[in-house]
Every structure is written in C-alpha cells, then in structure tokens.
C-alpha cells in the first residue's frame, strides 16, 4: 500500500472531491426550490452515495485493473446486458422512458461495463482484423440497442465518443471506423439540413410533410432539433426549456446571484422536473455566474486531463484504453450537457457528472475514476514484471 500512494494521482482525486462538494451544494439549491419536500434532503442522499462511491473508488484503485479486467469484465458485461433486458421488461416508467430498475439505472452502469469489455479485449494484442472489428461492433451494438429501446438517446450518444475513440486508438480497422464516422456525420448533417429546409419560414405545409417523411426522428426529437435550429420560434412551448435555461445561465452574469439565490430556479421558471438533473448546470451557473462556470470547467479539466495523462504513463494497452475511455465518457457528458444548456447542440437528456442528482451515474463515474486511479497506480509496470519484484 505504501508504494501504491507513490503513483496515486492526487490532482484527479482532489478535483473529484471538489466536484462532489460542488454537486452537493447545487443539488441542495435545486432541491430546495422544489415544492415537494422530499427533494429538499436530496443533497444528503447525494453525499451518502458519494461516500459509498468513494469506497468503491478506493477498492478499484488499489486493485490491479488487469486482474480485474481478466476476472470481472466479461461477467460484468453479461450482467449489464441482462439488466438492460430486465429494465425493458420490469423497469418503472419515468418521464416517458423505462430506465429504472428498482433503485438504479442499468444504462449508466452498462457504460462502464462496455468500456471495460473493450479494454479487456483490445488492450493487449493487436486484434486489427475485420473479424475483431465485427465483434467489437456487436459488443457495443447490443447494449446500445437495448438502451435506445428504453429509449435513452442521450446515454447512447455519450457512449459513442468513448467507444469510437477506444476502437480508433486500438487501431481496430480504422478505415471502417472512419467510414462509419463519416456516414454518421453526413446523416446528422443531412437530418439537420432537412429539418431546416422543412421548418424554415415560408415553407408550405405540403412540402414540409414531404421532407419530414424522410427524416428518421420521433416527434419529440424533431421538436428538439427544431428548437435547436429556431430557438426563438416557440418560447412558450417546445422552446421554453432552452430559453429558460439560457435566461438562467445568462442572468447569472459575471459573478452570479449567490448560492441558493438563483431566481429562475427558485421561482420555478426552470422546469422543476429537470432542474436537479439534466439542467442543473443552469441552477449552478445562475448562482455562481461566469466565475463559477469557469471554476467548474477547471475542476472538470483537472479531472479528465490527468485521466488522459494516465494513458500516457500506462505501459499496457488495456490501461491506456480504460484511462482514455473513462475520461472521454466523462468529457462527453460534461461537454454535451453544458453545450445543450446554452443551445450549442440540440437538447438531449443526459446528466452533468457529479453535479446532477443521480445516484447510479455518480457511482458509475466514481467507479470509472477508480479504475483510472488503478491504472495510474498499477499500470506503470508491465504484467510480466510484477510490482513486488521491481
């Protein structure tokens, strides 16, 4: 253990604690604004979860990740898939999605399981053939498909960057990957363009119908894309959330209104159902201002940049893949969540790590960071030269 702390990444650890503290305060503020008193104590639940998460963090950090991957990655992956099936069958329905199994969200846990599975399979040897690529796609597609069935597009989308990055850096059929990426980007732009053409002012109803027939979006997704393209069009309807989110963030100004004094939140202009979860950044940004936003970005930076740095110092492929995968997962959440709050990307339901109230996700992220810490501690030696012999 003594030697373990030599490579313990303190920056990553401290910034994680700082983020947990920040999140607890944000949840306190957002929860207090809600009419239902049950949410007033949500910050305590968050803190309690963080303590459990910390235990998991240390347990994983001081376990050699290689042994862990070897023994646990495959069973964890299989359990995750089973739970994803179970949630579709027995899950409880909240806000139009079937995401909850008893007290946790399998889709959140499965993100980490997929990353571990990919790291286990593609870390050590060069498995670059099309066959392996097909296996990788299958391994990713099954859980993602199940998640999309919930439906939880946000979770599926934030997993994509992590998975694609892992496959790319592991050199698994890069040509194919790039092709998929290119096709994906083209489709995304085509959809955006088509919706723009259909919804821009002065388009006849017939032509609109004609174009939208070809757009593979569900009605709520279409309306979110519409809000993204024309944010001012329907500020009391579909565009209400984005407008209130921006008013909330913008009216925070440079230094904010003070912790617990956010008006958009406390006067309930920010929709109550999302102010503690996907849009908690608005609550935070209104109360702490641009200064607070910058501090938050720095904290996230201090978390994920050392995460990627761990990949540099790690000596084996699995370690590098885990470090990059988990960091990218966190980054994707942070970036997309904040970007959607200010209208840079269409609104998708996904939490802001540490700040949003969500116990499963907090645990997942802390566990993932524990794995990176494990890579930082154990990954500097190769498998063939055990620590004790060094």
């Amino acid at each position: 253990m003594q030697g373990s702390f030599r490579h313990f990444n303190w920056l990553m650890f401290v910034s994680m604690l700082a983020l947990v503290a920040t999140g607890t305060v944000a949840i306190w503020s957002a929860g207090n604004a809600r009419a239902e008193t049950v949410f007033h104590g949500m910050w305590k639940a968050n803190l309690a979860t963080a303590f459990v998460g910390l235990a998991v963090y240390f347990a994983l950090a001081f376990t050699d990740y290689r042994r862990l991957l070897e023994w646990a990655a495959t069973p964890a992956y299989i359990v995750a898939v089973i739970m994803l099936v179970a949630v579709l069958l027995f899950g409880s329905k909240v806000y139009g999605g079937r995401r909850w199994l008893w007290f946790f969200q399998p889709s959140e846990v499965s993100k980490l399981c997929i990353i571990c599975m990919l790291a286990r399979l593609f870390g050590d040897e060069g498995r670059r053939s099309f066959k392996w690529f097909a296996l990788a796609i299958l391994l990713v597609a099954v859980p993602i498909g199940l998640i999309l069935l919930e439906p939880d597009l946000g979770t599926a989308l934030t997993l994509a960057p992590a998975v694609l990055l892992m496959l790319f850096v592991a050199r698994i059929w890069r040509k194919g990957l790039l092709t998929i990426l290119a096709i994906g980007a083209t489709v995304a732009f085509a959809v955006l363009g088509a919706v723009y053409e259909a919804e821009k002012p002065g388009v006849t109803e017939a032509r609109r119908e004609q174009i939208l027939k070809w757009v593979p979006l569900k009605s709520h997704q279409l309306s979110r894309v519409k809000v993204f393209l024309f944010p001012e069009d329907d500020i009391t309807g579909a565009g209400y959330t984005l407008r209130q989110a921006k008013i909330s963030i913008g009216s925070g100004g440079f230094s904010g209104k003070g912790i617990g004094k956010g008006e958009s939140n406390h006067l309930k202009y920010l929709p109550q159902s999302i102010s503690m979860n996907d849009f908690i950044f608005c609550v935070y940004a209104e109360e702490t201002g641009f200064v607070g936003s910058l501090v938050l970005l720095l904290m996230f930076g201090a978390l994920i940049v050392p995460g990627a740095w761990t990949a540099v110092v790690a000596t084996d492929g699995s370690g590098k893949l885990i470090a990059l995968g988990v960091s990218t997962l966190v980054f994707a959440h942070v970036w997309t969540n904040i970007a959607m709050s200010i209208g840079l990307v269409p609104i998708t339901g996904l939490p802001l790590p540490f700040i949003s109230s969500g116990r499963t996700f907090l645990m997942t992220v802390m566990a993932g960071l524990g794995l990176i810490q494990s890579v930082s501690i154990h990954g500097r030696e190769t498998k063939n030269e055990p620590v004790r012999m060094a």
């Binding site: 008006e263 940004a285 996230f300």
Partner: protein, 584 residues
C-alpha cells in the same frame, strides 16, 4: 519495459488530451458570451418574466371651502385581502376553489358574506394573480375587531389599511363636490411600464370628476417578484405613493348651507357669485343626495333608488338644469332696446293683453298697467311692454343682447356640467322643429318665454354683469385669475336697467327680495310658465345683485313649480343676502 510495443500510441493520448482542453475552452468561450457579453439581455428577459411593476395609488386630496372647511375628506378604512399565493394548487380551478372556500370560512368570522363572486375570483386568478384580492372592503368596527382576533387562524388573509372618501357635511354641496368611484388608474397611451395598476378613487361627477387629475394621489411603485405561474413571492417598495393636493374652493360653506336651507324640500337651484371676479360662493341644487352612501362602492340598489326618484336628486340643477328665464330675461330685452335707440322715457300703453295674430299674451295685471316707461315696466314686470319692445327692435337685436350676456353658450366654469341652454333663432328653429321663425316667437322670447332656456348659473352671471357692467367667467377653484369681458352696452343704458331693477326690490314685484337685507338690492323676478294649458305650472325665479352701487354679490335662485317669483323665490334670495350682508 515494453512501453513502445503498446498498440495505443502516445500521440493518440496527447491528441485526446488536446481535444479535452479544446472542448472545455470552446465551452468557456460560449459561456462568456452568454454570461458576460449578453448578461444584460438575459437579465432583462429574466426581469420581464419575473418582475411585475405595480402602480400604487396614493390618497386623494381633500376639497375645502374658501376658509379651509372640509367638504370632501379621507377616512381610514380597513379591508381584508386574500393573498393568492397562500392558496396555490396544481390547477387554476383548484386554486380558485381553495380561495373561494377560504373566503367562505373567513366570512363566518367577519359575519358577512364577501361580495366577491366566484366569477370575480376566477377573473382575478387568471388576470391579476400577483395582486392581493380584496375580499371585504371598508369593514365596520365590529367586523374589524372580530377578524383581528382570529387573523392568525387564517393564513393568506390580512388587513389592508386604505383610505376611503368621506363627506363630513353629508349632502352639503353634493352636486358641486360630486362623488367618487373606484377604478384602475389608466396609463398614458402606450405607457407599458406597469403590469398592474392599483384600484384608486376617481371622480365620477362634480368637482371630484372635473378636478380628478388635480386631486388624485401621486402614484407610487412597487415591484412584485412572481414565480413561473404568476404567484407573488416577494414584493419591494420602489417609491411611496403620496397624497394628492387639496383643492380649495371659492365656495363659502356658510352661504352654501343657507342657500340649501332655502331650497329644502323643494326642487330648485341657487347660485351666489362674486360678480367682480366670478368666484362662486354658493352652488346649490335641490333635492340632493348623501355621497357617503356611494362609499365604498355605489351599489346598484342605491343608484336605482336615486335614479327612479321623480324629483331627480342626482340632477345638478344649478348648472345642468335649464329653464325658461321668464321675466328675469326682461333686463336683457330692455338693454337691447335701449341700445337700438328706444328712448328710456318713452311710454307704452299697457292694456293687459298683447295680441299678435292668434297669439294672446297677458300681462300679470289683467286690466293693464296703463301708460308705462321702461324702468316702471321692469319694476312691475309688464309683459306687454317688453313684447312690444321686442317686436320693435327685432329678433336679431334680442338675440345679440342675449349672446352678449353669454346665454346660449357655456359659462366656462371649471365644472363638467355646464349647460349652454338655448337662445333660439330662425336657423335653430328650422333645424329643430322644421318650422320658420314667427313674430310670435320673438314676442315670447322678449319676455323670456318660448324656446329660450338658461341655467341658474348663467342667470347669476347675467345679473352680476348688469350690476358691474362686465361679464365674468365663473369659477370654483380658489385663486384662479378673474376673466372679465366688458358688456357692449353703455353705462347710461345699464344705469336705466339698474334703476329699474332697484325699483323692483324697492317696491315692485320683487320687494321681498331685499327684505331685511342691510344693503340695497337690485333684482328681477321671473315666473316662467310651462306645461299644457290644462296643467299650467310655474318655475319661479329671482335674480339679484347687491349692494346696488358697488355689486359684490350676484344671486340667482329658481324654485320649480313655485307660486311666483316675487312670492316664492325673492324671500329666499333675501335670506341668502342677509347671511352675507347682515352683521351677526
């Protein structure tokens, strides 16, 4: 170390790190745009949706008589208001039901049902949710005590202290002072600074109406912070509303009281005015009403009662009622004649009847006055003399003289109700009755009958002008500059008429008009007949000015359906003059 053999290159790791840093920088840049560059815009948007600006109402200024005695006052009033945010429910319907139910509960304590209907509550919730609902206005002492004792049991309800109008002298000068209603203040066109304007008292008639803008309290402002549904969270006073200025009148409450006492139980009006500057001292109309009955709200029941009263108590007869002037018009005909060159000593033989074709006009003295000159004719109010004079000088001469005295036009008094009356002519008659102007019409007009109509206020101005030689614009607000216009009649001619009018009081038809008055009075009686031949009725006038040589008071008084000007109206004027001129 097999470092270099790893399939994951350092480059990919560094590149990933770079993407992280770049991504965070992109966010920082956009956040700066939103939170720093556009912060003011978003703050404005935030305020626009969450801040309601309310214009608060200030207490109204009082109305005082010329010596500062209060005619219209404010008194403290207590209302029970209900704060809607204490009854927020998920749906509007449930909120309305909660408020309605709570009000019914409080009604048990107050001991009186709230006048608020469910519809009114509904409208309030949908339209002015942020504002408190006034559930009971103007509580009496018992109600106030009962509610105060139990106030803590009814969260969401509180006592609001406001001011209500009160008229300490009851019906005194009621038509003059007027009464108030309650209304939302109206902003200037396009003035959208305020989301809500509090109800405030506003004049509905009389001076309360005419000087509404003057008396009105200076509005204050408060800001309400409302939540997304429109319920008030907090409020902040921006500026306190202030009391409006007091309106001081030229009216003398004592003279007003005497004038009203003379008309008690009758229908009529009396105006007393200083003919030198036009300041009105008394402005009475009978019957009257008690404007306190209209506070805090004019109920339908009270309004209907007054409206259906045959004696029309709401009608302001002093300036809004018009009557045939009868013989009080004769001084005008006389002046017109003198101006046209009719000799003041020329006599006309009155036989008691003036016949013009089929029209027969009788003199008050059926057997005639005999040969009579102009002063004497005024003194005895000889009809035939003035019919003849009018026929002599022609329609235009009479009409011009009437116009010179301001008849047929508004007096210009600072009062909403300022009827111009009618000075008929050929064009007017053709337009109104589709008939041409007959000589008989002129004969009638010469003695103040026919279609001629004047208000008592106008006659006070006329009689004052005869006394002073110039016409004034009457006014009610103290301190207004006098507006005078000289009469187009020579002093010589005016003196002839003045002498005639002096004789009226000295020993003529209006001798009771100066009885007991400690100064010399000049006046003219008038008994204007109206109605059908079978039901002939008389409006009785007396107009006067005093003292004879230096007039400082002009009075006009009319009693509807009296006996005669000299018998009915003149003694009443004498009482008013006594109050002014006799030492007490």
């Amino acid at each position: 170390m097999k470092h270099d053999e790893s399939i994951v290159s350092d480059l990919s790791c560094w590149a990933t790190m770079a993407v992280f840093v770049l991504g965070l920088i992109v966010l920082a840049v956009h956040l700066k745009a939103v939170q720093v560059d556009d912060a003011a815009d978003y703050n404005y948007e935030k305020n626009r949706q969450s801040v309601r600006r309310v214009q608060t109402a200030g207490p109204r200024g009082r109305i005082l008589d010329r010596r500062g005695r209060v005619l219209a006052d404010n008194r403290r009033s207590f209302s029970i208001v209900c704060n809607a945010s204490a009854f927020r429910k998920r749906s509007w319907e449930a909120t309305e039901a909660a408020i309605s139910g709570a009000i019914s509960n409080v009604a048990v304590v107050v001991g009186r049902a709230s006048p608020l209907t469910d519809r009114a509550i509904r409208r309030h919730v949908r339209q002015s949710l942020a504002m408190p609902i006034v559930a009971w206005r103007d509580l009496n002492e018992v109600e106030l005590a009962r509610f105060s004792e139990h106030e803590r049991l009814y969260p969401g309800f509180s006592i609001l202290e406001t001011e209500e109008r009160s008229y300490p002298n009851g019906s005194l000068a009621c038509h003059l002072v007027g009464y108030v209603g309650r209304d939302r203040a109206r902003g200037e066109e396009g003035d959208e600074r305020f989301n809500f304007r509090e109800f405030e008292l506003c004049g509905r008639s009389g001076l309360e109406l005419y000087y509404n803008g003057f008396l009105r309290g200076v509005p204050g402002e408060k800001k309400l912070l409302v939540d997304a549904r429109g319920f008030t969270e907090r409020e902040r006073l921006v500026s306190e509303a202030r009391r409006g200025p007091d309106l001081m009148l030229t009216i003398d409450a004592d003279i007003q009281r005497v004038a009203e006492a003379q008309l008690a139980g009758l229908r009529g009006a009396c105006v007393a005015m200083d003919p030198r500057d036009g300041s009105v001292l008394a402005f009475a109309s009978a019957p009257g009403y008690d404007p306190n009955e209209f506070v805090p709200v004019l109920s339908q029941e009270v309004y209907t009662r007054y409206l259906n009263d045959a004696s029309k108590p709401l009608l302001n007869r002093a300036s809004g009622g018009t009557y045939a002037p009868g013989s009080t018009f004769k001084p005008i005909t006389a002046l017109a004649g003198l101006q046209m060159g009719y000799p003041s000593e020329s006599k006309y033989d009155c036989s008691g009847l003036y016949a013009l074709g089929g029209l027969k006009l009788h003199c008050a003295r059926h057997w005639g006055h005999g040969p009579i000159a102009i002063r004497e004719a005024l003194k005895v109010s000889c009809n035939t003399f003035f019919c003849n004079l009018g026929m002599d000088i022609g329609t235009n001469a009479v009409i011009n003289a009437a116009h010179a005295f301001g008849l047929g036009a508004k007096t210009g008094i600072d009062f909403a109700d300022d009827r111009s009356g009618i000075v008929p002519d050929d064009a007017w008659k053709r337009k109104t009755y589709n008939e041409k102007w007959y000589p008989g019409d002129l004969a009638q007009m010469s003695i103040g009958q026919g279609m001629l109509l004047v208000s008592p206020l106008q006659m006070a101005v006329v009689v004052g002008a005869i006394g002073t030689g110039y016409l004034v614009t009457p006014h009610l607000k103290a301190g207004e500059p006098a507006q005078q216009r000289p009469l187009p009649f020579s002093k010589r001619h005016l003196d002839v008429v003045r002498e005639g009018m002096r004789m009226v009081v000295a020993g003529g038809s209006g001798k009771r008009g100066g009885e007991g008055v400690e100064t010399e009075v000049c006046g003219k009686t008038g008994t204007a007949e109206y109605g059908t031949a079978a039901n002939r009725r008389k409006n009785t006038w007396f107009v006067a000015y005093a003292p004879a040589n230096a007039p400082r008071i002009a009075v006009s008084l009319i009693v509807e359906d009296g006996e005669s000007g000299g018998g009915t109206a003149a003694p009443k004027v004498a009482e008013v003059l006594k109050r002014i001129f006799n030492a007490r």
